[in-house]
């Protein structure tokens, strides 16, 4: 871990990368507020790290609850040095399917939930002139692709939001990071049957090793080159490639 954190909030800590991050932070001695919808999983996690993981059951689409809950969390935690927004959904979407309900769920969880939580952190860190914000983005946010139009949209929105936060807050000493994982083996992505996916634990290890400065980066080094090319491809080539 490049930096020692005393207190952290992990939103989306019941599974996947969020769970691995909460576990690794707690293992390093950090007190972690684990926020997620599934209380039973949080309780099980907290039982494994007594006094280090504090469970908070919360549905990130209940945006109105966040300001008060955020203060409860920081009060019980005794501060907040780091917040990681790792909640995300990616329902299966058919190649010809346009399903507004699924799309709204993605926007609500992946974007609006992030804004609700990270805005609170941004206000706090703006005042304390310290702190680290990490958003778990995705390579999927780099282009609009036929397979997951709104998932792409949601991760692009998150990326732009985090860039704006970075441009506002970095000069105050706040670190804002957007991590863009490629294929990671989690419950959310299992239906995609990724080959060569990295484990959530390895992903968390990399994320916690790169917290010393504000930036946006790809989790896997090879993606820096691949997505540098993909980002620059003209739209008509993207259409032909169909990727």
């Amino acid at each position: 871990m490049s930096q020692t954190f005393r207190t952290a909030i992990v939103v989306g800590a019941s599974s996947g990368i969020g769970l691995a991050l909460a576990e690794q932070l707690a293992a390093s001695g950090c007190r972690v507020a684990a926020v997620a919808r599934r209380k039973d999983r949080l309780d099980e996690l907290a039982a494994r790290f007594p006094n280090l993981i504090l469970p908070f059951a919360h549905d990130v689409t209940e945006f109105g609850e966040v300001p008060e809950l955020f203060q409860q969390v920081t009060s019980q935690l005794g501060g907040c040095d780091l917040i990681i927004y790792a909640s995300g959904v990616m329902p299966e979407v058919g190649k010809t399917e346009f399903n507004t309900e699924k799309d709204m769920a993605m926007i609500n969880v992946n974007v609006l939930g992030a804004i609700a939580w990270l805005n609170q952190a941004a206000i706090r860190f703006q005042g304390s002139q310290s702190g680290t914000i990490i958003g778990i983005g995705s390579v999927a946010g780099d282009r609009g692709r036929p397979g997951q139009p709104v998932y792409n949209t949601s991760k692009a929105a998150l990326s732009t939001y985090l860039e704006a936060l970075r441009n506002r807050l970095s000069k105050l000493g706040v670190i804002v990071i957007n991590v863009k994982p490629g294929p990671v083996d989690t419950e959310m992505t299992r239906h995609l049957n990724f080959k060569n996916a990295i484990s959530a634990s390895d992903a968390a290890k990399i994320i916690l090793s790169k917290t010393s400065r504000s930036r946006e980066y790809y989790l896997e080094p090879k993606h820096h080159l691949i997505f540098a090319i993909i980002r620059r491809l003209p739209s008509w080539i993207m259409q032909r490639l169909g990727i």
Binding site: T4, T74, G78, G79, I123
Partner: protein, 473 residues
């Protein structure tokens, strides 16, 4: 102030606070009331939301004495008026947020100065009371408390009380570490002076025994202090000073007291810490300490006049000098030990820090007498204040050394000053303060603040409060 309508504190009030040493950060919701009514509304808001309150003065305590824990953090910086000044008797009354700096600038032209001041002019009166500050004349003038005639305090209930030295609680609030309430007003005595200068003499000393001899030899001095070279076992430079007795009205002018000019004619004082940082390491300070000893060889013959400000407030001479101790910070240790044991203990401590190669970069020796406060930290004897530079690499060894040295002091019946501590454990704090003193203080807190509204990181660390949310790496 209309905050009570919301069910949580306004997040935009969050600020990061730290001790002077930079090793005790904590976040709190900052409130800066301008009147007793506003102050009371903040206290009642904290009560309604069941949030602790941490009192914050100028933040000059080295450790965590005013570091919050997600608390409502009250600064009296805007309650800083001088309320009454009698230039005939030298008695002044001011609000708790007034700083020592504001006070001397107010009274000096009338020919008055503090009986007791700290090494910096930045503390507020409320802070000076709460930490019961002492100076280089502790042996003759005691602590700040001895010169206070009346203080006003707002309790956790919002009730305001006035206390005088005849009331026992007066001696609990002094040195009470801000855990009993907010000191909103202080009336205290100053001393008459005819000059804004002091006459200073220096003597080089080569051992601990010689150090103590100097304090006896110059027992008539108004001020006495010794700088010890941390790279030796007791050698250093002793300094005694007397107020000038001749009338020198021009030196009472504020312009005479102003610290200005460049260092060595080259370096701006405001940015000098950046240069200081380059030598704030073991080899750099070893050389600097040797140079300081040698410089005293030249200056020890002739007495030298210094302005009161320059002499009394050396910590303000180079603004932000503590920044030279980054990346981690400045860890301070101040132990007060009985006079008869001082030589042996200080020699033992010096051997420990030298064998660990963790020499303090500043070592200050002073002579003391006991104070009368409930959480007494002074005794008949001597104190040694040590400034250590903590780095990521030396932190474990330094913390170990600190604990070992603390046990040596406590085993000899010594005490610690909590405005200058950042590491002592509840058990060590109990030995320093004494169980009876803690029990008496706790009983008063039970009466005045049964819900323990007033808390700091320090009160949690040394076991005066239970704080489940207080996490340390």
């Amino acid at each position: 102030m209309d905050h009570a309508a919301t069910r949580h504190l306004e997040l935009a009030r969050i600020r990061r606070f730290d001790g002077f040493g930079g090793l005790s950060p904590g976040d709190g919701y900052l409130f800066e009331p301008t009147s007793l009514d506003e102050l009371r509304s903040v206290v009642l808001l904290a009560e309604e939301l069941d949030v602790p309150i941490t009192l914050r003065g100028s933040g000059k305590s080295y450790g965590d004495a005013s570091s919050p824990l997600e608390s409502v953090t009250i600064s009296l910086a805007r309650m800083n008026r001088v309320l009454a000044w009698d230039k005939e008797t030298g008695v002044i009354e001011a609000e708790g947020g007034a700083t020592l700096e504001a006070i001397w600038q107010y009274v000096l032209q009338d020919g008055w100065w503090f009986n007791v001041v700290s090494g910096t002019m930045k503390p507020t009166l409320a802070g000076a009371v709460s930490t019961n500050i002492h100076g280089k004349n502790n042996i003759t003038h005691g602590t700040f408390a001895e010169h206070v005639e009346m203080l006003e305090i707002m309790l956790a209930s919002g009730e305001v009380r006035q206390l005088t030295p005849s009331q026992p609680e007066f001696w609990a609030v002094h040195g009470g570490l801000g855990l009993l309430g907010m000191v909103t007003k202080v009336r205290f005595r100053l001393k008459k002076i005819s000059s804004g200068n002091v006459r200073v003499v220096q003597r080089r000393v080569h051992s601990w025994a010689q150090q103590f001899e100097m304090f006896e030899t110059f027992g008539d001095a108004d001020y006495s202090v010794s700088w010890v070279n941390g790279f030796t076992n007791g050698a250093g430079v002793f300094q005694a000073a007397w107020h000038s007795e001749s009338a020198e009205p021009e030196t009472l002018d504020l312009r005479h007291q102003k610290i200005e000019g460049k260092l060595a004619g080259l370096i701006h004082r405001d940015t000098a810490w950046k240069h200081l940082r380059r030598i704030t390491n073991r080899p750099g300070m070893k050389i600097a300490s040797a140079l300081k000893s040698n410089a005293a060889r030249i200056s020890e013959g002739a007495p030298k006049d210094m302005s009161l400000v320059q002499y009394n407030f050396p910590l303000d001479y180079l603004p932000n000098w503590q920044q030279a101790y980054v990346p981690n910070g400045l860890l301070q240790f101040q132990a007060i030990v009985p006079a008869q044991a001082a030589e042996g203990i200080f020699s033992n401590l010096a051997q420990q820090w030298r064998s660990a190669k963790l020499e303090p970069y500043l070592v200050v020796l002073k002579k003391h007498r006991p104070d009368e406060t409930w959480l007494r930290y002074l005794d008949h004897g001597y104190s040694l204040a040590l400034d250590f530079r903590q780095t990521p690499r030396n932190a474990p060894a330094l913390n170990h050394l600190y604990m070992e040295m603390a046990d040596v002091v406590l085993n000899a019946g010594g005490r610690f000053y909590f405005a200058k501590d950042g590491l002592l454990t509840p058990e060590q704090a109990k030995r320093s303060l004494g169980e009876a003193a803690i029990a008496r203080f706790t009983a008063l807190r039970d009466e005045w603040d049964p819900k323990r509204r007033f808390k700091t990181q320090l009160s949690c660390r040394i076991g005066l409060d239970e704080c489940v949310q207080y996490a340390r790496p």
